[in-house]
């Protein structure tokens, strides 16, 4: 009877250790994933700046930007070569 109880105790201790090893691995993996996520979030975090106050183009809502307004004014005065000019304006704009 005594020896049977003793064997049960040994098995119990082993399973505790295995649980802790697996738990440690899981915790470390989760920490690494969260650390990576925090570094990605750090790169994409932005100052909350209102583009309107800075007179910048707000392309999302379709508002006409500052520079585009100037171009529109020029077109109102002289529309020659409009297509060629528009193609050049839209071509390769790095923004």
């Amino acid at each position: 009877m005594l020896s049977r109880d003793f064997r049960k105790n040994k098995i119990g201790q082993l399973s505790d250790a295995m649980t802790w090893i697996v738990a440690t691995i899981v915790i470390v993996v989760i920490l690494v994933i969260f650390f990576y996520a925090s570094s990605v979030l750090a790169e994409i975090k932005d100052l909350e700046v209102d583009s309107k106050i800075l007179f910048l183009d707000k392309q999302k809502t379709g508002e006409v930007g500052w520079i585009k307004e100037k171009t529109n004014f020029a077109f109102k005065l002289n529309k020659d070569n409009e297509e060629k000019i528009n193609n050049w304006l839209e071509e390769n704009e790095k923004s």
């Binding site: 915790i27 650390f35 925090s38 500052w66 520079i67 020029a74 020659d80 070569n81």
Partner: protein, 172 residues
């Protein structure tokens, strides 16, 4: 005997548990430090503001300013005093900006007829490198194009390239 064995096992696991807590605390500290220590990158906005400012300096209501172009010619004096005329400060000792303005004729878009530039010219190469993919640790480049007329209605196409360095203050 049984009771002693159980207590011993609990004590070992408690020490290990606090070891895990220290690991988690260290991980969280690292995450918070990484997130809040990373500077805000405002170079994109600065480049846009610079381009807008230059455009405003060159053209008003669709016409090139008389300082820039008059009597069918571009003004060399404007080119030589570009920063003063457009109220832009670029530190000569440690220039953190570069601006280049190119004027093109509608007949020949491949070559500029007049160019103005100021600032750190070495960064233009870095812009070519970033054509396909942006590199955070290189200067931020922005190109804007606009159309304006000369005093006699001549058509001019203007390319404004604005580059902002300031890598240390904006990137870690």
């Amino acid at each position: 005997m049984k009771n002693l064995n159980k207590r011993g096992a609990d004590k070992i696991i408690s020490v290990y548990w606090f070891g895990i807590l220290v690991l988690v605390a260290g991980g969280i500290f690292l995450m918070v430090y990484t997130f809040y220590n990373h500077p805000y990158d405002v170079r994109g906005l600065e480049a846009k503001i610079m381009a807008n400012k230059v455009a405003d300096c060159l053209s008003k209501q669709g016409m090139l300013e008389s300082d820039v172009f008059s009597n069918g010619n571009f003004n060399e004096d404007f080119k030589n005093n570009f920063l003063d005329k457009c109220n832009i400060i670029i530190d000569a000792n440690d220039p953190q900006y570069y601006v280049k303005v190119g004027f093109f004729s509608v007949e020949d878009l491949s070559k500029s007829v007049f160019e103005i530039d100021a600032g750190n010219k070495n960064w233009v190469v870095d812009c070519d490198v970033q054509e396909d993919e942006e590199h955070e640790k290189l200067p931020e480049c922005l190109e804007k194009r606009l159309y304006a007329l000369g005093d006699s209605g001549e058509q001019h196409l203007i390319k404004i390239l604005s580059i902002v360095g300031k890598v240390e203050e904006n990137v870690k």
